[in-house]
Amino acid sequence: MNVLQINNVTKRFGNLVAVRDVSLNVARGELCAIIGPNGAGKTTFFNLISGYFPPTSGTISFDGQDITRLATHERVRRGMARTFQITEIFPELNVFENVRIAAEVAGGYRLRPWINRAEAAKIHRHVEDTLKLVALETKTNRLVGELSHGDQRAAEIAMALSLKPHLLLLDQETYQITQLIRRLHRDSNYTIVLIEHDMRVVFHLADRICVLDQGKMLAQGTPKEIAANEAVQAAYLGTAA
C-alpha cells in the first residue's frame, strides 16, 4: 500500500511554474530520494507535500486519504514529519526540551495546563529513547543552538521521530547523518522521502530515485536505472560525472 500518493501536482507562483504536473507514489517502508539541479523545484515539492502551501492543481493523498487542502498541523497529526534544509529547531532550549515539546504534542498533551507524574515519566522515557536512537543521549542538557551542525541536524531528526511519523520528509541531510538515515530505514523500517545533493548519499541509500528538472519529473527508477538514464546524464549527472 502507498503511504503517499501524489497525482499531477502543479504549483505556480505568478508566471513561474515551480512544480509542473508531477506524480509520485511512495510505498510503505520505501526510501525515495529526490534529486535535481538547483532550482529544479525540490523544496517547493516538499512544501506541497508537507502543507506549507497548497498546490495550484493536482491531489495529494496520505495513508489513503486526500490531504491536498489540509493544514500543516493536521498532516503532522496524521503522521507526517519533516526537517528543513536550514535547520529549524528551538536554539535557546536544550536538547531534551526540544524533543520533549514534540513528544508532548504527539502524545496529545499540547492543550493541557497540567501533566501528572506518570504521564511526565512516559514522555521522559520516550524522549530518552529517541535521543539514544540519534546518538544525542550524552548531550541532553546542552543548548541546541550551541551544538555542531551535524548534532543540530540529529536533534531536528529526533524531534521529527518523536512525532512517531509514518512518513519522514528529510530535506538535504549532511553526509554525517547518512548512517542514521540508513538505520532508520533498514532497522526501524521508516518510510522516507529525502531531498539530496550529495550523490554518494543518494546512490548509497535510496531504493528509488526521482529526478526533478525545471519543475518536471525527468525520470524515476532504481539507482542503477537512474545512473544509466541518458536524459538524466545530460541534464544533471553529465556535468557532475
Binding site: 498541523h73 529549524e88 529547531i89 528551538f90 515539546i101 504527539a106 499540547r110 495546563p113
Partner: protein
C-alpha cells in the same frame, strides 16, 4: 543543576518575603503602603502582558484596553449592580478577558508590526467608547461614585477601605493567586507550546501545533489576567480613568516588561517597581518626570538588552 535549583528557590523566597513585609520596610525608606499596592497591581499588569510578549513572543500594544475594561467592569459593578468587592473583581476580569477572546480571533492571524498595529487599533476603539459614552462611563472625567467594600469573611470583616495595610494584603493575596496560575500554566505542556512558538514558529507548526489557536489562547488568558489587574486598579483608586485604556498606557506596560526583563517571569514586576517608584518620586520634583523614566528605559535597552533582571542574573552567573 542542583545548585541552580537551590538558587532559584532562594530568589523566589526572597521575593515573597520582600512582598509580605513591604508595608514594614517601605515606610522607613520613605515609601508608603499605598505605593506598594500600586506596584503590585501595575506589576501584575506588566506580568500579564509579558505572559504574551515574553513567553509567546507576540507584542501587543493595546493591552491597556483590557486593563481599562477590567477597571470599568469592576467600577460599574460596584456602582450599579452590587456592593461586593469579589464580584467586582470577577466582573472586571470577565469583561477584559471576554473582549480579549473575541478581538483575539481577529488579531492572531497577524504577526510582528501588523499584530502590534491591530492591537493598538482595537485598543483605541475601547478608549473612545469609554471617552464618549459619558452617561455610563463618566466620559473624560472618568467613572466615580464607587468604592471598594469591606470583605465579609464570616467570622470577621476585612476592612480594606480604610486600612491601607489590610488592603495591601488583600491585593497581595489576589496577586499571588494570579501569578500562581500564570506560573502553573507556563510550566505545563501548553506553556511549553507557547515557548515553542516564541522560539520558532515554523518548527512549532511542523510539530503539529496549530499556532494561531495557541496564540489566541495565550492572548485570551493574558487578557483575563489583564482584566483582573485592571479591576484591582479600580479598587486602588476608587476610580476608573479612560486614559487607563489609552495606547500610551499600553506603552507604559511594554516599557515595564522590557525594562525589567521580558524573558524572565519576575522581570516585569521589577520593571513596574522601578517605573512606579520613579514616577512617584520624580513627579513630586518635576512635571517632566517621564523624560527621566524614558532616559532610563533607553539606557536599559542599550546596555542591558535582557532587562534589569537579566543583567542581575548574568552578573551572578
Amino acid at each position: 543543576m542542583k545548585a541552580e535549583h537551590t538558587r532559584k528557590l532562594i530568589v523566589l523566597a526572597a521575593i515573597w518575603v520582600a512582598l509580605l513585609l513591604a508595608p514594614y520596610w517601605m515606610a522607613p525608606l520613605g515609601g508608603y503602603t499605598a505605593l506598594a499596592t500600586r506596584v503590585l497591581v501595575l506589576g501584575l499588569a506588566a506580568m500579564s502582558l509579558n505572559f504574551l510578549l515574553g513567553f509567546t513572543g507576540v507584542l501587543s500594544f493595546g493591552h491597556a484596553a483590557y486593563f481599562g475594561l477590567g477597571a470599568y467592569g469592576a467600577g460599574l459593578t460596584l456602582k450599579f449592580l452590587a456592593l461586593s468587592t469579589p464580584l467586582a473583581l470577577v466582573a472586571g476580569m470577565l469583561l477584559g478577558g471576554l473582549c480579549g477572546a473575541i478581538l483575539g480571533l481577529l488579531i492572531v492571524r497577524r504577526r510582528g508590526v501588523y499584530f502590534a498595529m491591530v492591537t493598538i487599533a482595537f485598543g483605541q476603539v475601547f478608549y473612545y467608547i469609554a471617552f464618549q459614552w459619558s452617561s455610563l462611563t463618566g466620559g473624560d472625567d472618568g467613572l466615580r461614585g464607587f468604592s471598594r467594600q469591606p470583605i465579609d469573611l464570616g467570622a470577621f470583616k476585612l476592612d480594606i477601605l480604610s486600612s491601607a495595610n489590610s488592603f495591601y494584603y488583600f491585593v497581595l493575596f489576589c496577586f499571588a493567586l494570579a501569578v500562581g496560575v500564570m506560573g502553573f500554566i507556563l510550566r505545563s505542556p501548553f506553556g511549553r507550546t507557547m515557548i515553542a512558538i516564541r522560539e520558532n514558529e515554523r518548527r512549532s507548526r511542523f510539530l503539529g501545533i496549530p499556532v494561531e489557536r495557541h496564540i489566541w489562547i495565550a492572548f485570551t488568558l493574558s487578557c483575563f489576567f489583564m482584566g483582573f489587574a485592571g479591576a484591582l486598579y479600580a479598587l486602588v483608586n476608587n476610580f476608573a480613568d479612560p486614559r487607563g485604556l489609552h495606547y500610551s498606557q499600553s506603552g507604559d506596560f511594554v516599557m515595564m516588561a522590557v525594562m525589567g526583563g521580558m524573558r524572565s517571569f519576575w522581570g516585569p514586576l521589577l520593571g513596574a517597581t522601578v517605573f512606579v517608584v520613579l514616577q512617584d518620586y520624580l513627579s513630586s520634583v518635576t512635571v517632566n518626570w517621564m523624560s527621566f523614566v524614558g532616559l532610563l528605559f533607553v539606557l536599559v535597552v542599550l546596555f542591558f538588552p535582557r532587562g534589569l533582571l537579566g543583567f542581575f542574573q548574568r552578573s551572578k552567573a
